[in-house]
Subunit: 336 residues, 2 copies
């Protein structure tokens, strides 16, 4: 049975309905009936071929939420009817050192959901069993999708650095990723500071969990916060004054990037003297996605979403590109 | 009683004998009768005022080894006759968050042994009790000094990153610091690779603990080692192709700097995709110096030294500056 999806034929072309034959379902694959799909800035980057890895026609969408329709012959952990999500990655080799260490997100033979294959702006999407994670019972399906890429991307560094609830953490950029980071870190018990240059986001950042805010582009204001953060999580993709941000870290602090900023340059002496570091990470492993979902369910953490019918996907992309999303767009499938 | 020391009066001036009155011994201070003092590249940098923090006359020397001569009224842990060492730092505030966490090396009010005070190229040197660490019984005094700065500087990252004996670690630059790192890491159980551009050091690097070597300036040779190191410890102070070095790290790997290289610039995508990081550190805490000394004693780890009489200190500095030291110079006190 063909899949109906929204595809772009070339860089800059709008998304148009495409029907494609997905072929036989692989023994380790599952097929998800997509009910919702979040829209991530990476979908825009892929549409524009910013990273030179896009294959056209491109069906974007890597924050899918829905129910399992079919499972392959060897699938062990999922069955038709299960409510699940699918994020940036759609399969890993399962046998390399990284996979065997539980770091499937670092597998160098992994497939991404929308690189060389068709994603979740569709009525159905397929992926390998290991990257399709069941939602906790009662989890809100409509807001689940954005957790599978934006959410896990900011949750992963909290685990990676074993952030303590007694830590002070800053979040730079209060958008699709940052607004979820505020919620996670607040529930984690941390003192949370939102760095934003948008006056309009200050009140909302506080509602979402920030204890205070700083203007990310006001050097004089930032300097007053010198030596006060254990981690600063950078979710923007623009260049800021990183040496200044490093000065805001306490000794042993880490400046952590999840956004695709240009090359990072830093002076070495402040890093040496304060035993500070610069780190970066992609999404997290399936096991950590599961941990994030359980934590989110317990603490009622949800992305703040705006919904568009999937048939209005081009309007949604324009809304995102204009910087107007507050804070994550979710497409609702109306093309069945 | 005056102290006899070798001092430089201005940038570029040779070291000449100086007698100075150290004043009363502070209640928390001890005075060390210097028997040996290692020579570190930082002594050269301070002599040249490379870091713009030198106060003249400058008495260099921050790898002193000797016996306690006098102790202040409130000193609790040391007594006259104890064999001890003193490194880069000479006091910490003991009360800030860093000191109270055991990270006295990260205290922002700490004093360095040769910044604004006189160091160990002298017959006696003073420091606050907490930074003067007793040697294990039977420890070789002549080779102890270099452990207190060069040694702890490369031992600290092994502790900081909780390096496992199953890790593969590279050491870039086989000099005063690097040759001690090879010994520590070999005794730690790691697979150790020495990165050097000196053909003449290859055989010696293997004797000191390297299981293999790579040419640090041969990009083609380095590329073959892609994706194979858990940590690469950079002890040089020159710029190398850091993006290439980052590609040699396995996922979760860290590129760690202890040398004062120029600004570090790195592309963000390889850091994100591999969850890799860039870190840096100064010397370690007094508690970790003690751990290092115990580990060194157990495993018979010693710097490889060349000795000069302290009265020939200018010859020693010239030898170091010419890049001829194999591998650490130690001055032997002959000015009592």
């Amino acid at each position: 049975m063909t899949i109906k999806a929204y595809a772009s034929a070339a860089p800059g072309k709008p998304l148009e309905l495409l029907e494609y034959d997905p072929g036989d379902l692989g023994p380790n694959e599952v097929e998800i009936n997509v009910e919702y799909c979040g829209v991530c800035h990476s979908d825009l980057s892929m549409l524009h071929n910013d990273w030179q890895i896009t294959q056209y026609p491109l069906v974007p969408g890597h924050e899918a939420a829905g129910t399992i329709g079919k499972v392959g012959a060897d699938v062990k952990t999922l069955k038709p009817g299960d409510t699940v999500g699918l994020g940036w990655m759609s399969s890993s080799c399962m046998h390399c050192d990284e996979c065997m260490s539980g770091d499937h997100n670092l597998c160098q033979s992994s497939e991404a959901s929308i690189v060389g294959r068709h994603g979740g702006f569709a009525n159905r999407v397929r992926a390998s069993e290991e990257w399709v994670v069941k939602l906790p019972d009662g989890f809100d399906l409509k807001s689940a999708g954005p957790l599978f890429c934006g959410g896990i991307t900011v949750f992963n560094p909290i685990l990676q650095h074993r952030i303590s609830p007694t830590s002070r953490v800053g979040v730079v950029g209060i958008g699709g990723l940052g607004h979820m980071a505020l919620q996670f870190l607040n529930a984690w018990g941390c003192h949370v500071t939102a760095f934003t240059s948008s006056e309009s986001k200050i009140a909302e950042a506080k509602e979402m969990g920030a204890h205070d805010t700083l203007n990310s582009r006001d050097d004089a204001e930032l300097e007053k916060a010198a030596n006060s953060f254990d981690m600063i999580l950078v979710t923007v993709n623009v260049e800021l004054n990183w040496n200044l941000y490093i000065s805001l870290l306490r000794p042993r602090g880490v400046l952590h990037f999840v956004g695709a900023v240009p090359d990072v340059t830093a002076a070495i002496f402040p890093l040496i003297a304060g035993q500070k570091s610069i780190a970066a990470s992609p999404i997290g492993s399936p096991r950590n996605i599961k941990r994030m979902l359980e934590f989110s369910h317990l603490h009622n953490i949800k992305p703040v979403i705006e919904t568009f019918p999937m048939s209005k996907v081009n309007d949604a992309m324009a809304h995102l590109e204009a910087g107007k999303a507050r804070y994550r767009i979710v497409l609702e499938n109306d093309i069945n």
